[in-house]
Amino acid sequence: MKGLYAVYRKEMSHYFVSPIAYIVVGIFLLLTGFFFTRILSFLIEQAFEMGMQGGQFGGVDVPSLLVRDFFGVFASLLLFLTPILTMGVYAEERKRGTMELLMTSPVTDTEIVLGKYLALLTLFAIMLLPTLFYAAFTFFHSDPAAPWRVLACAYLGALLMGGVLLALGSFFSSLTENQLIAAVLTFGAFLILWVIDFGSRGSSTGIGAAIGYLSVIKHYDDFTRGIIDTSSLIYYASFIFLGLFLTVRSIDSMRWRRA
């Protein structure tokens, strides 16, 4: 436990001095801010037009649509940015030789992996936090009443999906000494999980449904509609577990294959 905390603490202090963390968080906030204003003004325009045509105001539930569209953009941004957060987690340690320090210290491989993963999750939550401010600010002034429950669901979904991306990214980073290779592998894996249900849409066979279930975005969509489905929770939890388990195995295998 102490070892886990030591690793966590080291990782967190590393983010505060590393330009990569600042750049990724900065770009993420810049883009989310841009899309938030664009989506908001577009939806308001639309609602206004529909109101004019239908003769009555408020036919469109702008706040709910805002959450859905905004969190859709969120997901695409995370797809591009999380591989950059995770690419160095193990690859850099391997390259610098510091993995040898960690692996000959009285900490278990699991403690190393969990410490690093929790630090990544913390950084991820810090990255999401400022977006909450402008979402909340807008919703205080919204009419119809703000869908707070939906917003909370959407954030939970973003955290869970981020959790999966970070766990998988950690695993790919543990496979290589090269950060670029780690980033590309991670990005490729994410894309596959993203588009895996394209072919199966509308198909009613068992295989189609199974493949659809694997899509990381499909479960996320439910969350942005304010639905918390147990099967989605299980999906995310098992993917996070799988990612972390593979990382632990991959670190352990370093001991056996190093020549």
Binding site: R96, G97, L101, M103, T104, T108, W256, R258
Partner: protein, 320 residues
Amino acid sequence: MIEVQNLTKTFGDRTAVDHISFTVNKGEILGFLGPNGAGKTTTMRILTGFLPATSGTAKIGGFDVFDDSIEVRRRIGYLPETPPLYTDMTVGAYLDFVTRIKNVPAERRASRIEDALEKTNITDKRDELIKRLSRGYKQRVGIAQALVHDPDVIILDEPTVGLDPKQIIEVRHLIKGLAGNHTIILSTHILPEVSMTCDRVVIINRGKIAAVDTPANLTTQLKGAQHVRFEARADEVALRAAVQEIPGVSNMQIEPVGSSGVLAVTVESAAGQDARSEIAAKIVGKGWPLLELRGVSLSLEEIFLQLTTDDASHAVESNN
């Protein structure tokens, strides 16, 4: 403190470490000597729990390095070949992290860091970023890292690589000063290092132990074929004939010294036999002026070369 029995490590079909056994007593400094690729680093990595052995056992403080890896890791400090440094941290922050990951209790951390900085003479670099330090200072931070948690056993893989001569001397003093309280294994391919710092030497070549002894014993034990060098003013052919009459003398080499008619002669005498008095008597008896005569004992360098060239190492092994 450290017991190694029949330790073997193979990578695919290559055997890096081949059935080696040795022990290290508490407070001793053991030197690991061998050419590059001899298996020094692999052996150290097995001892630190970084690599599992293919067969054989190694124990540190009674704990098996594989079965009780965590217990072993609590008791060791390890400096790998490349110092494991987080270069974007300051020296102080880095050592603080190491004390935490090595489970040093909170109340002892500050004093342990202070002590490690002082011993490695880097107290004034505490607040500098590691990436701004020179190679020599980085190496010292690496050593500080290995002793900051006051471990029973310190394992140093080539601790003086990349240092300038003054720093090398400082590091050797540091290592000697650590002995007694700590048991130390260090590896090197630099011979004077071994004779200056180590209590005992393990010479390792191609994964096998070629010899284990004190530096002094190794030198005398292998003196066997002793060399004698002398200078005399004489006719070369007559001299050669005269010296060859002495029993047990072989491998004579004669070189003229300048143009004064003085010849420098080097001969080997058989093991355990001192040919110096007979040579002196012979030369003086012939009436030639004897200008110089001395026995040449083999330096550690020559012993090392003897041991690590194949047939010589077999000879030593069968002697043991």
